[in-house]
Amino acid sequence: MRRLALWIVAALAVAAVVHYVTLIQTPGFIMKRVMMKMGEANTIHHQGRVTANSRSVVRPSPDLLYSVCPFDLTNGALHVTAPVPPGTYWSVSIFDDKTNNFFVKNDKQAKGKVDLLLTTPYVDVKRPQGAAEVVAPTPKGVVLFRTLINDEKNFAAIDAVRRKANCTFIRSRAS
């Protein structure tokens, strides 16, 4: 009887470890997969309109246009620039490699444009003039631009402006 209890405790201990490890690993695992699907790191990808075939990120909004820069700041920093499309909702948000959202700015806060240097404490990069520094908690992650198609009639104009957003990699002097 005591031996059986011991086996049960052992099984529960294994269960607890497996549960904890899989839970902790889930966000990083999902983020890695999503970043791979997005494409090459440190460059911008302007995604097409969301349809039933858009299956890289769950619950996408068909009313938004998404542009993404998966980033890897191991050897440098990312210069993120974008004009803000007028007259509609727009935002730029940045996520670390565990899905934490550590930066967000919308069209009302950005006042016409964003100009950011996304960097880490471990790289030595000359900050482009006028760029505000944003420190990423992890070297990898995703910059995500959302642009609302508030009126189908404005689609072409909105799409043209959001495609002016850019992510440029600046290599570290030290590495």
Binding site: A15, T26, A52, S61, D63
Partner: protein, 193 residues
């Protein structure tokens, strides 16, 4: 102690059962967004989405069900998989989503399939928003979610299991401060086909 072979078999069984239990526990804890949630009728939202202190359970939940979700001041997401009477949403039925425009700079209601993606339909129609909704003369609206085409404000359903999400971009202060009283629309089931 028994033979070494029996011991090894038992050890193997413990590892298999333990792993299965551990995976089941993880699956149960993340299969449905259920942490830090408040409800407004059938609509549920998590107050912790986008917040810094969210723990491993919420983190895994958000990664699976709301990846790249923004914080509450920026966007609030309410999801419903039940109607106002408490029944599971069923894609073979006709639903009337009735209410007033929610308090936000911009809002939309989108239908998703069981896999959390948009349901394929030949109309290319997945959402109704503050821009596209047709309001009645008293400023209220009725959206019809159904497998058959509706006259106006139609959300096509092409899968048996589905869910709805309301997005509020830059929600009003009243909603941010009291998310359980966002005055979101009711979801009433009418006929089933």
């Amino acid at each position: 102690m028994g033979s070494p072979l029996r011991f090894l078999l038992k050890l193997f069984a413990v590892l298999i059962i333990g792993t299965a239990l551990g995976l089941a526990a993880t699956w149960l804890s993340v299969s449905r967004l259920s942490i830090g949630t408040v409800s407004d009728g059938p609509w549920r939202t998590s107050l912790l989405i986008g917040s810094e202190q969210s723990g491993p359970y919420l983190r895994a939940n958000v990664a699976l069900h709301g990846l790249f979700a923004l914080n509450r001041g920026e966007t609030m997401y309410y999801t419903a998989d039940h109607d106002s009477a408490g029944g599971w949403l069923d894609g073979n039925c006709v639903y009337k989503i009735e209410g007033r425009e929610p308090s936000a700079r911009w809002w939309s209601i989108t239908a998703y399939g069981a896999d959390d993606y948009l349901m394929a339909n030949k109309y290319g129609k997945w959402s109704i928003s503050g821009e596209t909704v047709q309001l009645k003369s008293d400023s209220t609206f009725v959206i019809t979610a159904s497998p058959r085409k509706a006259f106006s404000n139609w959300l096509p359903l092409t899968q048996r299991r589905f869910s709805l999400t309301i997005r509020l971009y830059n929600p009003g202060a009243g909603v941010v401060n009291d998310p359980a009283n966002a005055m979101l629309p009711t979801i009433k089931r009418s006929v089933c086909l």
